[in-house]
Every structure is written in structure tokens, then in C-alpha cells.
Subunit: 212 residues, 2 copies
Amino acid sequence: MKLSGRQEEIIKLVKEGQPITSEALAEKLGVTRAALRADLAILTMIGILDAKPKVGYIYAGNPTDTAILDNISKVLVGDIMSKPITVNKNTMVYDAIVFLFLNDVGTLFVENNGILIGAVSRKDFLKIAIGGTDIYKVPVGVIMTRMPNLVCAYAEESAYSVAKKIIEHEIDSVPIVEKINEKCEGKEQFKIVGKISKTNITKLFVKLGEST
Amino acid sequence: MKLSGRQEEIIKLVKEGQPITSEALAEKLGVTRAALRADLAILTMIGILDAKPKVGYIYAGNPTDTAILDNISKVLVGDIMSKPITVNKNTMVYDAIVFLFLNDVGTLFVENNGILIGAVSRKDFLKIAIGGTDIYKVPVGVIMTRMPNLVCAYAEESAYSVAKKIIEHEIDSVPIVEKINEKCEGKEQFKIVGKISKTNITKLFVKLGEST
């Protein structure tokens, strides 16, 4: 693992003025505290810094082996994905919302004859519910985000790559799909085999912390 | 790091029948595939197993140093938390939902004179929106989850401990609070200083994977 320029700078500042708070570090570096979050978390995890509650950071100088971080990208989506909850495109919005609550999920995936055609999130439903649409008479097929506009992933991808898609596209979950041989009007078609949400990634993080 | 009994069993089965899929492992162990998820992810990350897409698991036998996992619990919430979005308890539900969309967050925290008194999530709002309540005339103070029923955390806690609270209580986010000296009717009072959601934890996971 190679430290970034900013991480090297942080280490230098901590050595000079320890203990030092993240606010003080942010000020000295001329960045927001938010911008430092990841660097401080990583330097703490790899044992270079130590975070003392209410005191600040001190130099621990005890770097651990980081080979395990390389392996993060070897964990495959197929082995941590959950069962997707699907509805037919003709389901009325109200019934779909009730189904969402019954299954306690954040997103419903929409199918037509076994083909993934769209998705509707809790956020989409809330927008529709306060927007004056008759939720008893409009089917989910009308309000869903349609393929090919859904961000999808394959079971063979890494959990890391899917977590990255979730953050970059600011979405809650990603359908895990398999390509179907038949095309429709020249377009690729997919069936849904799973889903990965921020919950799956958070659970993985907790399991990592628990395993020691 | 000490492997669990099940992890040892998995390693034995992989050595005997590699490559072996997670479905086959689940069947041999008499558990669901879901139950194996975390174990397979951890054994892959620590370099004992290797996951081959579409083939299955093989024995890699190359365990990495896991000291970094002990350090997960040293990352403090105060250094990865986000800014909380708050509303006054007298804000009407409709206005609060619009405010939720404007800020693009999943939960609003409710304050009264600087004291945290409750929270309302996208899920709560959706339930109210389809339930026949007049969202233009009911204030959030009436529909919120009230203190002390909110799961809270302190900035000095570890990110790991808060991620665990999120999973165990099946919630989307946790307000990060500070105790206020004055009690109210003999009860502790808190102000809100931040929040941690599944998004923060997913971001941390992505940063860890990126850092190599």
C-alpha cells in the first residue's frame, strides 16, 4: 500500500503537534473536516495513527500489513447478495407500496415475463404519493425507473465494485442480473437474480469488525 | 484472529472438493447460502480462500495479517459522521417531505429549542402519506419517533459499534448526540451534532478498497 501525498502530510502534522484534533488538521491543511474523513479512518485502521476520544490523533507508528485490503476486491457479489423483491409492472402503486412495507425493503424491482424492466424506490414512491397522482389507479410500470437506465451488476463482480457504483450513482441498491440470450428489438435483456444494498455492505463491515 | 468452528469446517470442505460453489458448501453444511455469506467473505478477505467467478471456491492458503481488522474498532464516529438535517417539531409533514427531498437525505431529525426530540424517516413519511392523514395540517412532531426511543450514539464511539447498532435495530441512520447538563422532568437531554447512515459506512468500505 502506498500512502497518498495528503496522508503523508497528515502524518507529518500529527508528529509535529500531537495530540491534534481533526478540526485542527483540517484548518492546517486548508480543507474541510469532511474531506479528511477517509484519510484519517484509513491511517487509523492501518495502525499509523491512533484516535483518542475527545483528545485527538497521536502517531502510533505501528503500520499493519495491508494485504487484506487488496483482498476486499476478491469478495464476489454473488456470495453476499440478497433475494430481490419483485412486482409485475401492472401492480397499482398503492398495492406496490403495501408490498414494499410487507417485505420491509427499500426498492421493488419490476418484471415483465421474467425480464427485469425497471425499479421503484421508497424515494420514488414518496414523490408520487405527495404529488397528486392517483396511487390506486396508476400502475408501477408508469412511474418506475426503466431499463436501460438502471445501474445493474453481475454476480461475478466484486462487492467493492458494486459498493462503488452505489456511492457514485447515489442509489440505495443495485439489481444483480444475468443476460438472457434473446434480444428484444435489438436490445439486451436481463433477468434479476439478486440485489445488493447499502445494508449488505454495512453487514459485511460489521462482520469484518466482529471477526477479530 | 481465531477462526470459528464453521470457518474451519468450510476450509476442510473446500480442500476436499475444490473448486466448490457456495451452494454446494451450504448443502454439505446443512445451512442456507445466506448463512454462509459472511464466513465466505471473511475467509476470502483474509486470503485463506479464493473465489473464482462462475467456478467456486478454491483453497488459497495464503492467510494475511489480520491486525487491521482489530483496528476497525478504532475508527471513531466523530471523524466519519455527516451533518444532520433538522426540522422544528411544528413543521408540517408536507413541508418536511419537501425539505427531505431538497436535502436529499433519508431521515430528518426533529429539534425543539436545540434539544433533539425525535426523528422521521422516508419510511415513516411514506406510511403517513398513503394513510389518509392530512399532510398539510399535521406537524412532524405528531408523527415522529420520539426520544428516548431513538437509537443514538456518541462521537467517541467507534464506527464499528454504530454500524452494529444500525444492523441490529434495522434502522437507516443514527443521530450522534452530546448530553446537555440540564435535565427536563428528571430525564437526560441531548443535542444532535452529527449522523451516521449506511451511506457513511458504505463510503468507508469503498475507501478501504480504494486505498490499495
